[in-house]
Symmetry: C2
Subunit: 319 residues, 2 copies
């Protein structure tokens, strides 16, 4: 299959009609219209084979995940997804692989009426870079730098499942149904787009949990010039995770495991009750896990208030 | 150097203050304002080490080229560059390499007041994906599909130099000053942004010559439902290229060599004279090389009107 056949396959799967796409795939650049009184939110994430996903990962899961991790960034800004570009570097031109990849990518794109508007296909080691574009009403983006002392800290969904799935994928034990559920959370994360929209104008700060809770909440604290104290026993946990791991293992997965793509946010006491109700109605509730304090850094305590030691604070390239 | 140190180095080199960048590098997404009555032009190009540039290429040249090839796409749309994101996949965290890369990237970015607004740094085989954003007044973008029978075909600058440079890089002969000039055209292409702005609203169709003249003019013809006839003896040629290669070699480099990043465009007879004058005044003139005809495909003739056989029509991945 030639490069141009490849582009045809991608276009057929992923180009969705949208009025604001004036020129889509097929010219030197896409031509796009941003709605009046809105700003553009733009984010880029790369997945490298063997680094961001195990080499044995199914093409459809890679396609899904390459878009999901980017949509998660838009969710964390409170942005409505609109367009994406896809830079796909492939070792060889394998039609079945590309069709499966596009199947995963497109099934998530359709959920959000997101149009693929351009990209590049090149030959080389498997690497996928997606750039997503979304809209926020002027000056309404959710930022990292708005946390204030006294805010409560919240997180959507459950934590640690994806990292648990990754650990089970590396083990020699036979796959159980429980393991399958966790691996699914690793391969097919759900970007919390609807929840980001609920939070817009109401949360004081927000980030998505991609590198691990401690690392990502740490970014909020640094950007806001504050610290945080979180209660490890309050961290939301799936029954699958609690069934599969010891307490200490589970705590580490929840605190430092990456790839959850939940939203971590802070809000004032006043706003919290109504916000939690609206989030639950949006399809994914949130849990209060701590509070913002003056002292810098992220402290971890247990339910009794005792400090908890942390082995590793989060994923970092070149660490 | 950690991932976050790397990001600091990149930010220091490449983040330029612009009023329309409301949130730049450092949050989950950039927040950007598109001017009223303008559309957004978006393009993505990937460079893979050993495919798009020889592995021995200097980091600064790779930085320059990774932005230049993308700016060339904006030029072909008649767009004014504004912002870019950079997805940088590196085998190791080498501060000197990254600083040199950023030096090359930033020296070109500054020419166009282009701000780096986000990106991703990951570990893996050397791969660079840049996504650029520019502005065009509503419905004024230069497209590929507007060529009409009777239009003249033009190209800016000279053709074949970059492909000549690539061939000389692969040879064992000692580097001459002439070779050095051609290699410079390969490593540091000049995106024809100013020329794209001159063409806006005046050329009928436009594309940048990245894969080779025949391939790229072929895209205009396919999109426009027309054909073209070009005169190989009219193709603009640098004195360096003519000094270094035989006639047949030179013709092949000019017709099928990639990486020139000149603009190929069509315009009506009426518009042509004034357009050529304005282009020359913009700092890079253009040459008439043929005309648009009804019969599909791109025919090549010599000055006497005889058909010229072509060995290879252009670069294609997975070909």
């Amino acid at each position: 299959m030639s490069e141009f056949d490849l582009i045809d396959v991608i276009r057929k799967h992923c180009a969705i009609a949208r009025d604001d796409v004036r020129v889509g795939i097929g010219d030197d650049a896409a031509v796009l219209a941003v709605p009046a009184h809105h700003q553009l939110a733009v984010s880029t994430d790369t997945l490298v084979s063997g680094v961001h996903f195990p080499e044995a990962t199914e093409a459809a899961d890679i396609g899904w995940k390459s878009l999901a991790v980017n949509l998660s960034d838009l969710a964390a800004m409170g942005a409505t997804p609109a367009w994406a570009t896809l830079a796909l570097t492939l070792p060889s031109s394998d039609r079945a692989w590309v069709e499966n990849f596009c199947g995963g990518f497109a099934s998530l794109a359709r959920e959000f009426k997101l149009a693929l508007v351009g990209g590049d296909t090149t030959q080389g080691p498997l690497t996928i870079t997606v750039t997503v574009h979304g809209f926020v009403p002027n000056d309404m983006a959710l930022l990292r730098n708005g946390a204030r002392v006294g805010d409560f800290v919240f997180v959507t969904g459950t934590l640690g499942d994806a990292a648990g799935g990754l650990r089970l994928m590396g083990s020699d034990e036979p796959r159980t149904d429980l393991a399958q559920e966790l691996v699914q959370r690793l391969n097919r994360p759900t970007p919390r787009v609807a929840q980001g929209l609920v939070l817009r104008g109401r949360a004081r700060s927000c980030i998505d949990v991609s590198d691990g809770l401690l690392a990502d909440l740490g970014h909020i604290c640094t950007a806001s010039g504050v610290g945080a104290e979180i209660d490890v026993d309050a961290l939301p946990m799936s029954s699958t995770l609690s069934a599969g791991f010891s307490r200490d293992d589970r705590r580490n997965l929840q605190l430092s495991g990456g790839d959850d793509y939940e939203l971590c946010f802070t809000a004032s006491d006043d706003a919290a009750t109504e916000l939690l109700g609206d989030l639950a109605r949006s399809g994914c509730g949130a849990t209060r896990i701590g509070r913002i304090i003056e002292e810098s850094g992220v402290r971890v305590v247990d339910a009794a208030g005792n400090a908890v030691a942390v082995a590793r604070r989060g994923w970092e390239h070149f660490a």
